[in-house]
Point group: C2
Chain length 148, copies 2
């Protein structure tokens, strides 16, 4: 039995790195009572525009049942709207509202400052390299698939 050292295990290393990076962001978000997940949802919506839930779930790294529940409360809070697609009435199109955008803009400066602080601490060049590697790893293609 010879498992990798945990700090050379990619899943664990990714998780630890994320915890480090998220710590100050969690502080920021907790002040306005918005969860990490809701923050991701509105960021994706703002970036990608109105979209259906399945795509949104994928982009925001959430499972559809979790998303369904969250969207219900977020709709009640007025952060977004849902409307069923005219062409395909199974689909519901989610769209960010002005109030949703306001949540983003309320935290925009601080969020940018945090990102800048990280960039200073870690190095702009390294950050670019890291992001490139992560994007490449994530590659929206087929999964590794070794067991067959």
């Amino acid at each position: 039995m010879s498992l990798r050292r945990t700090d050379r295990s990619l899943p664990i290393a990714l998780l630890r790195a994320r915890e480090t990076v998220m710590a100050p962001i969690r502080v920021m978000l907790s002040q306005s009572g918005i969860s990490e997940q809701k923050w991701r949802v509105i960021r994706v919506l703002e970036e990608a525009g109105p979209m259906e839930q399945t795509a949104l779930a994928k982009e925001a790294c959430l499972l559809l049942p979790s998303l369904t529940r969250m969207l219900q409360s977020m709709e009640e809070e007025g952060l977004l709207t849902r409307a069923s697609d005219a062409r395909d009435r199974r689909k519901s199109i989610v769209k960010i509202t002005a109030a949703g955008r306001k949540v983003l803009s309320d935290h925009s400066d601080e969020s940018t400052a945090l990102a800048a602080a990280l960039e200073r601490r870690f190095g702009a060049q390294k950050l670019e390299t890291l992001l490139d590697l992560l994007d490449e790893l994530t590659e929206r293609d087929a999964p590794p698939h070794t067991d067959e």
Copy 2:
């Protein structure tokens, strides 16, 4: 308001990358009914030896309350033991058992194979670079701390 593109946001990029990497591992673990979190706990315990819960929580990226509850069931399952420290009876020292080690060895081969497959797909050199960057980012030192 100018937030980064989500794929250039480190927290989101880390999360998406992790989801990609974890997918096949989740398949492996689900077959033996062990959760991702328990897997991390026994890996850390095996690697670092007996340790108190606060340190274990940090290494395994869990909050103490979550860990407390997990340890209760893992102790019942015989994967580990808890004993209160003689010197400081607030602390409880967690130690992996033979049964706990067996869970690791049961998945050792497959786990190694998955890691190897990833290495082939992604490139050994890139993987090394990525792990180095992640380790450096995680750096067990003070957090960024910009708000003061």
